[in-house]
């Protein structure tokens, strides 16, 4: 058993490393090869890279939500609120001092006059250390607030917990948009000019990009976070979470401290939601409280459902599918199309994409309740096939 576990871990690690390498290669095709010979899909402006970046950020957030909903059985709808906290913490800590006056022009400059990347001496080292520390702090702020919220809220069960966390998400949004906090949060206006994923691209002296890292970095960050979550799920704590999910009373009878484990699951999930929120700000090049609405929580919840509640790899696959479908593949539904024969395709109009999309989601929710993966993981599928092969 021990040996197979070790072997499984090694295989998973190798697969992850291979995936990272492939991402790095794909995104640098247009840098290494002459522009004309690269297919359009691999050009740096391709939709593919937007989808990859957004998808990987959503994977992390979806997995963090799955940890809570699928593994600990706590139905929480506060994810967008924690992402918002993370995004704002990240942005506030990393906006360069020189740009602060322009970003906070309504409030005559910011109340916080330092920037983590500059504290670490600027340059590439400062950038990496500063961004990493800011993201971790973003997660910590979200986790701290989650701990405070959890004190009263985690005593609730089922749908009451859902509606209370939903409410807290809204409260967080209202507080961050408050005018009096303007010098810190910039009120209802967007925070911008902080380091984004593109800041990690290596440039040569001529100012041209010599090595693209803007997709590699989010993949690496999300990958490490998801690996930590997976390790947590496979630990004793993870087994305790699953026991609580399956039967609270039985779990308590077996000596599991319910309150402590629930609080822990809530804080850890919020930490990664905050981390993911910071990354979402990096992806979107700005952070604004308006974007982190309940609709965003619903979106993430639907991703988790499509992927299968209780499956980490399902959440990741579903994130990429969801983002690719909504941002890229279904785009054509939003534009009016006239066929060559002069036939105008009916119904195609702005907004139709989302209608089709929500109908598909409803079909998944109603008829494929297990989602893509159920509670299985990707390796499980291969393992079963191998076993079937051996039986023959």
């Amino acid at each position: 058993m021990q040996r197979t576990n070790q072997k499984g871990a090694r295989t998973a690690f190798l697969c992850a490393a291979a995936l990272l390498l492939i991402v790095l290669l794909i995104e640098n095709l247009s840098v290494f090869l002459p522009a004309a010979s690269v297919p359009k899909i691999f050009q740096s402006t391709s939709m593919l890279f937007t989808v990859l970046k957004k998808g990987v950020v959503y994977s992390l957030v979806a997995v963090s939500m799955n940890l809570l909903n699928g593994f600990a059985g706590l139905f929480s709808l506060g994810q967008a609120g924690f992402m918002l906290l993370g995004a704002y913490t990240y942005a506030i800590l990393t906006i360069p001092v020189a740009s602060r006056d322009t970003v906070y022009y309504i409030y005559n400059g910011s109340a916080i006059n330092f920037s983590l990347p500059e504290i670490f001496g600027g340059g590439p080292v400062g950038l990496v250390l500063g961004v990493l520390l800011a993201l971790i702090l973003a997660g910590c702020v979200a986790a701290l607030v989650a701990w405070l919220i959890g004190l009263p809220v985690l005593r609730l069960k089922g749908d009451y917990l859902a509606i209370a966390t939903l409410g807290f998400g809204e409260i967080i949004r209202a507080v961050l948009q408050w005018d009096k906090l303007g010098p810190v949060t910039n009120g209802a206006n967007a925070l911008k000019s902080f380091p984004t994923f593109s800041s990690f691209n290596v440039q040569n002296d001529a100012g041209q990009v010599s090595l693209r890292l803007s997709c590699f970095v989010p993949f690496l960050l999300s990958g490490v976070c998801i690996a930590i979550i997976v390790m947590l799920i496979n630990s004793t704590y993870g087994r305790a979470f699953k026991a609580i999910r399956d039967d609270e009373v039985a779990a308590e009878a077996m000596g599991i401290n319910l309150a402590r484990h629930k609080r822990m699951a809530f804080c850890i999930s919020s930490f990664f939601a905050g981390f993911g929120g910071g990354m979402f700000a990096m992806y979107a090049n700005q952070a604004q409280a308006r974007t982190f609405t309940t609709a965003m929580t619903y979106e993430i919840l639907l991703i988790v459902v499509i992927g299968g509640i209780g499956s980490v790899s399902g959440s990741c696959i579903a994130s990429f599918l969801y983002v690719a479908a909504s941002e890229w593949w279904l785009r054509f539904l939003d534009t009016e199309t006239v066929l060559k024969s002069g036939f105008k395709v009916p119904l195609l109009r702005n907004g139709f994409r989302m209608v089709v999309f929500s109908v598909v989601i409803m079909i998944v929710v109603l008829f494929f309740r297990k989602g893509l993966m159920g509670d299985k993981e990707l390796p499980d599928l291969f393992r079963r096939r191998r076993k079937e092969g051996a039986a023959k």
Partner: protein, 299 residues
């Protein structure tokens, strides 16, 4: 004094409109133990239907008949919408875990909002003026719309009718039985599917009436305009004790008045935050609300 009166008046009328939505939440929760997240969007859809029906009927009927016919038709269509949602999205999941039903409700809400965006093209729609309701009237020096005065009376009348229905008819008895014990009611020959459908029909009917009153006050309708009133009405239902109709009405009036007081003060940014803070305080201090029955979990 005048200012206080005007705030109180608008609070009461807002509360009455929330009450009509909250009853739908509380009845569905009482029977199915489901937070019907789509209820707020049904409310929004009722408003939109009225907008499109009046512009459609405008060419067919004489001018005096357009608004009444539009109102009747929009209420009827909303009732059908509520019925269809229950049959299509909740009935197949009757034996599924409660979380799946709630996710299905969130999916319906998402679908209705996206449909509304598609139909309206994302532009705010103006609710037609209902003669009689939109006229202004002056009471003790405060000028307000007639709808503000009429709402509380209409709400009280509807609630009395509803309690009569629940306490003195056969279907009402079936509803009470189903709310008390789902399985035993079924064993006693209560046709649960019919009862649940009636619950959704009543809820949607009240939401449609509520939307006519609400959108006469706040005329522009966007796809998201059902979400927040829906959540506030839900908070009202919890406040009053979920499952209890008088509780929902009292809770809705309290929420409406406090919202209008906060909106009139310098803390207006926090009006929604206050509503949710209230929700959390109630859930923690007295989860059964003002009039709710105590529920004990069986192992």
């Amino acid at each position: 004094m005048q200012y206080a009166l005007s705030i109180l008046l608008s609070g009461i009328s807002l509360g009455g409109q929330y009450a009509l939505i909250a009853i739908g939440y509380t009845m569905v929760y009482g029977i199915l133990r489901l937070i019907n997240f789509a209820h707020g969007d049904v409310f929004m859809a009722a408003g939109l239907m009225m907008v499109y029906l009046t512009s459609f009927l405008g060419g067919l009927l004489p001018a005096g008949l357009v608004i009444p016919a539009g109102l009747l038709l929009s209420v009827a269509l909303t009732v059908i919408l509520g019925f269809v949602i229950e049959r299509a999205a909740y009935k197949p999941l009757r034996s599924a875990p409660r979380m799946s039903v709630m996710i299905s409700a969130i999916g319906v809400s998402y679908l209705l909002q996206n449909l509304a965006t598609y139909v309206t093209g994302g532009l705010p729609q103006m609710y037609p003026e209902i003669p009689g309701l939109s006229k202004t009237v002056t009471i003790a020096g405060v000028s307000t719309k007639w709808v503000t005065i009429i709402t509380p009376f209409l709400v009280v009348a509807l609630v009395i009718a509803l309690t009569q229905l629940i306490n003195h008819t056969k279907i009402g008895m079936a509803m009470r039985a189903a709310a008390k014990d789902f399985e035993t009611a079924q064993l006693m020959g209560v046709k649960l599917n019919a009862v649940i459908s009636v619950t959704f029909v009543i809820g949607s009917f009240l939401a449609a009436v509520g939307s006519a009153l609400y959108f006469t006050n706040y005329q522009s309708i966007v796809p998201l305009s059902g979400a927040l009133p829906g959540l506030r009405a839900f908070v009202a239902a919890v406040f009053g004790g979920i499952g209890s109709i008088p509780g929902a009405v009292v809770g809705a009036f309290l929420i409406g008045i406090s919202e209008s007081i906060i909106k009139g003060s310098s803390w207006s940014v926090f009006s929604d935050a206050f509503t949710f803070a209230l929700l959390i305080i109630i859930l923690v201090v007295k989860p059964t609300g003002l009039f709710g029955e105590k529920v004990t979990d069986k192992v």
